[in-house]
Amino acid sequence: MREEAKIFSDTIVKFLNKEFSGVLDAVDTFPETEVNWRLYENIFKFAPCDDVFTLSDSVEILLKISTICAGISSIFAGQFALNKLSSSSQFNLSEPVALAFIDEGTRINKNEVSFSCILKDDHLFGEKRMVMGASVVDKAIVFVKSEKGVKCLLTYVKKKGVDVHPERTLGLRTSLPYRLIFNGVEPDRVFDIDTEQLINFAIIYDLLLFASSLGTAGTALDRAKEYALERYQGGNIIYNYGAVKALYIKNWIAVNNGIDMIKREAGKMDEGIRITPEEWAMLREFLRMKPVKAGLDAIQILGGYGYIRDYGIEKRFRDATSLVMLLENMWER
């Protein structure tokens, strides 16, 4: 990791540990219940608006932030992916924006990317889901289809014709996920975007989400190991039982292989080597259940203690699973 990226991730981790220790647990609830605005305003202030980090750096940063909270790292994943897109296309981001990518019709294959949200007569219609932090920032980048292909729109979120609904989700609650419903809104700016750029964006976004997912699942495993090394059962340290050790090691290998793969792909992209959607779909197929199973087995190692909120393991499982599912079924296999 380059020095700038290290400083950046250390700053975020320090900030989260110092300012919001304990708060992250409180905001791990449905967004309508409690929103810590100060936390999220600061998070978005941290998010860089320029493409200052390589993809490899971004992966490292997210791996580090996700050790604290995958919800927060998923917000950064969206920002980093948008910065990559802005550097390769005509639009520039001067301030943090929310990413509105996923809708019911989001499908990605080697030739095209489609959405169910549409731009018709210069007005935006449809529904975007899991828009993280949409109530904190003023604007969102929205991906839509139009008669002239896919467009990328910049629109104010807090305006007439945009309904903002909190999402109730399995995990990633700390990312403040919202559903945006556009009822014929006139976007503030419209950008053309070609298919290759868009496919590339989707791959980068998913790759960054996977980095967060593997990062948080890996932390769950580490915590489980710490627990197993401290606690006794039948007069022996839990970790000394073969059944427990096997659970840990099997998942540790899977998660660390996954992280290595993600890093390798990020490195290739930094060198300008293109990853095709088929290649990513294959890699994704291989990786997808690894963080989920690691999270489940981390809970299992702790038993009842893993199932309650206090140890933070079940949250990591929920977050890891949600991250994997965000773009699940959107890739043509």
Partner: protein, 450 residues
């Protein structure tokens, strides 16, 4: 491999399923998600109305013998009921499941004084619509798996002890993760009378929730099955009279093994119910979204269906083994004796008779008769199959829920679509009633190694 013939009364099973489905339709399905939402921020919220409605369906007295006025349900029948209730809501099903677990410690003791003093209250309360809930308190803060296995118990780090004092016992210590712990009127507490000799003094006690020296500590913030509380029980010089000792001192591990053989098929059934729910949700989703022609989805749904059928077959077999060869052998004359025992109900409940049945001598005699009748070899086989059913069905439930999530993709993580709740609920079935690792070990010890 021992062959076991499975026999059921089809009519009775159909009647149980019908009753549970009616409850799901009229009660569980209306409140399940709302309870899940409320308990996310308020773990103390408990919907008593659901339990009261359960009284109308005879759920609280379901396994209590008929001569006591209960439903006389076998383990297999309890399991069938719980599968169906879990289809509606696993958390709600577990309120009744945990209650049955508490009752099973009493039922398997054949301790008449305890029957007459406590089971009677459940039956009479149910008739009046006043639920009397039980809990089973075994797990300790530093001993979960340990207290469910004979070998591990010897080295367990125990914190709870029932010291013998004049006229009874003085309980000190803590029990944790106790389902129904914060809402039960009576707790069936299993602990050592002497922590230095846990196996030899492992004993069962009934502790009323209003006992002096007893209090409820924290109510856990769980990932799933939140309709059913998991509470901490604290005992500080809590006096328990002699007559509340279930059976006799030192016999509780024998009893625990029988109770576990009886309680694991119902846990497997809970897991099966959750899996069925997840399967139906994914199937409906696939139909709505036009995914039924997608071969990958077809294969997934077929596998899910097959796994659910396997889970059900396994728990039915395990339940049947218990009913036929453990309980059936101990209580083979019970059906014939029930009319006679029913006539004796008023006499048995007189203070003079209760004095006799509460005496150490009577209890000791009951235990000796039981010991002669219990076939330990069959207990071992039954425990093996129950453990096999428990870990297989709960692993299947988690697998099926994950498959449902994969079919639904991002829609699967939304609370209102319920599949994510199924996954959260299913995970707990791999943990409670002995972790799946312990259950695998039980299968090895009781079915493989022998």
């Amino acid at each position: 491999m021992r062959e076991v013939k499975i026999a059921f009364s089809k009519k009775r099973i159909e009647e149980i399923i019908e009753r549970a489905r009616d409850f799901n339709k009229n009660v569980s399905e209306k409140v399940s998600l709302e309870i899940d939402r409320r308990t996310l921020t308020d773990p103390h919220y408990f919907d008593w109305e659901v339990v009261k409605r359960g009284c109308e369906y005879g759920f609280l007295s379901f396994p209590i013998p008929r001569f006591m006025g209960g439903g006389g349900a076998t383990v297999t029948e309890v399991a069938v009921l719980l599968e169906e209730l879990s289809y509606g809501c696993a958390g709600i099903a577990n309120i009744f499941g945990a209650h049955y677990l508490g009752l099973s410690g009493i039922l398997m003791s054949f301790d008449l004084s305890i029957y007459d003093r406590f089971l009677r209250e459940v039956v009479e309360g149910e008739r009046k619509g006043v639920p009397v809930l039980f809990s089973a308190a075994v797990t300790e803060p530093t001993a979960g798996t340990d207290v469910e296995n004979r070998e591990l118990l010897l080295k367990a780090k125990l914190v709870t002890e029932a010291r013998r004092v004049e006229g009874g016992f003085l309980l000190n210590g803590r029990k944790v993760f106790i389902s129904n712990g914060s809402v039960a009127k009576y707790h069936v507490v299993i602990c050592a009378v002497d922590r230095n000799s846990p196996l030899e003094t492992w004993s069962g006690f009934i502790v009323p929730a209003n006992s002096k020296g007893f209090s409820v500590g924290r109510v856990e913030r769980k990932m799933g099955q939140r309709a059913c509380h998991a509470g901490e029980l604290i005992f500080e010089d809590c006096f328990v009279p002699e007559e509340n000792n279930i059976g006799v001192v030192g016999k509780a591990m024998d009893m625990t093994e029988i109770v576990l053989a009886a309680s694991r098929p119902p846990v497997a059934a809970i897991a099966t119910g959750i899996a069925r729910k997840a399967y139906d949700l994914a199937l409906n989703y696939a139909r709505e979204k036009g995914l039924m022609k997608n071969e990958k989805v077809q294969m997934k749904l077929a596998e899910m269906r097959a796994k659910i059928e396997m889970a059900r077959a396994i728990y039915l077999k395990a339940g049947n083994i218990f009913d036929e060869f453990v309980y059936g052998k101990v209580a083979k004359e019970l059906p014939l004796m029930e009319p006679f025992l029913k006539i004796l109900n008023p006499l048995r409940r007189t203070s003079q008779f209760l004095k006799i049945t509460s005496s150490r001598r009577w209890k000791g005699l009951t235990v000796r008769i039981l010991e002669r009748r219990i076939d330990r070899e069959w207990v071992s086989v039954s425990l093996g199959f129950s453990s096999l059913a428990k870990f297989s069905a709960s692993d299947i439930a988690v697998d099926v829920c994950l498959s449902a999530l994969e079919i639904m993709g991002i829609d699967g993580i939304f609370w209102e679509n319920e599949v994510e709740k199924c996954l959260r609920d299913a995970k707990l079935t791999q943990i409670y009633e002995g972790t799946n690792q312990l259950n695998r070990y039980e299968v090895f010890k009781n079915l493989v190694e022998v």
